[in-house]
Subunit: 196 residues, 2 copies
């Protein structure tokens, strides 16, 4: 069975392939851009999966829809004392305010807990489903980086760690990341289907 | 001709009726919610107008599409030194960070220019068009209100004024507002059609 991952980012596809390598799915990248809604990560991911599926099917009419499923993913950083800002709009906020803006908003506030969340939207032509993974942590008082990671990684310290995501080697981060957790939840679902 | 205004806010409909009262259009409220995209105000408004039109037509198959046009509108506050933040996401940012968050981000920064912008999305079954209106001004150093207005009104001082929008009587604000300017631009368009 084909699992088409609607994303422009090949690294995300590689990560998915690795996690799903012993499943019945063959993961492939599909570069069909889709409109991102305003709303929750779940709403964005559901709409995206359905949109990409419909676009793909309309261009590949000869393919049996029995054999194709689509996934897309969306992630965000949720900071509790900022009412979960920037959430779904993390990408936009990173481009405008950046990490400096986030640190300014928190100031010396001691309540700095936050979490990263990934939601995978899945559509097989019949059912739309979502799978999520999170990683909890805190926002540091200043940016700290060893040159790894991107975006909010230099201000996010995962629970139980002393380093920010941007101070960890990529493999170290991947191993505890929200995206990994979401793909693990997805894997449990598809494994349960195979056992039916 | 019917001009259906897709909005939950009856006050916006009243304002549109007033501005368009001598045109060939009869403005009515249409309460069909539509998905709001992430993107520019123009993208949000175009998508919304098309979506509401299609939904309305699918539920009213007997109505000739010659007689119906749809408008929706979307507005935002754009602050230059914050890279136009909060822009399209003004509603979300108001709910999370609020005016306090904006004032904290600007701090004592002297470059405080900003503008409000409204974009109207229009679809008549053939053409999608947008019409925009802005009002320029500055962000005040603290909130000032006489109990009027809402959202960012208490931190926005229109150019040439000494009061914030929230210190003005509603009629005074409406007379110079971005929404009015957008509807005036729309009126010029439909008037030009009548003269063809």
């Amino acid at each position: 069975m084909k699992l088409l991952f609607g994303t422009g980012n090949i690294n995300k596809v590689k990560e998915a392939k690795l996690i799903l390598k012993n499943s019945k799915y063959e993961v492939e990248q599909l570069k069909i851009p889709y409109p991102e809604l305003q709303g929750t990560l779940e709403e964005v991911a559901k709409y995206g999966a359905k949109y990409v599926y419909d676009e793909y099917m309309s261009k590949n009419e000869k393919i049996s829809n029995e054999n194709v499923s689509i996934i897309v993913e969306d992630s965000g950083l949720f900071i509790e004392s900022l009412r979960e800002f920037p959430g779904t709009y993390s990408k936009y906020v990173q481009m405008t305010l950046g990490n400096e803006g986030i640190l300014k908003l928190l100031g010396t506030c001691k309540k700095r807990n936050a979490y990263f969340k990934t939601v995978i939207g899945y559509y097989d032509g019949k059912e739309i489903k979502t799978f999520s993974g999170t990683v909890e942590g805190t926002i540091s008082y200043k940016m700290k980086s060893n040159g790894y990671g991107f975006a909010y990684d230099s201000i996010f310290v995962p629970k139980g760690c002393e380093k920010t995501f941007a101070e960890m080697l990529p493999a170290e981060k991947s191993d505890i990341s929200h995206r990994k957790n979401a793909f693990m939840e997805f894997k449990r679902y598809i494994d349960s289907l195979s056992n039916e």
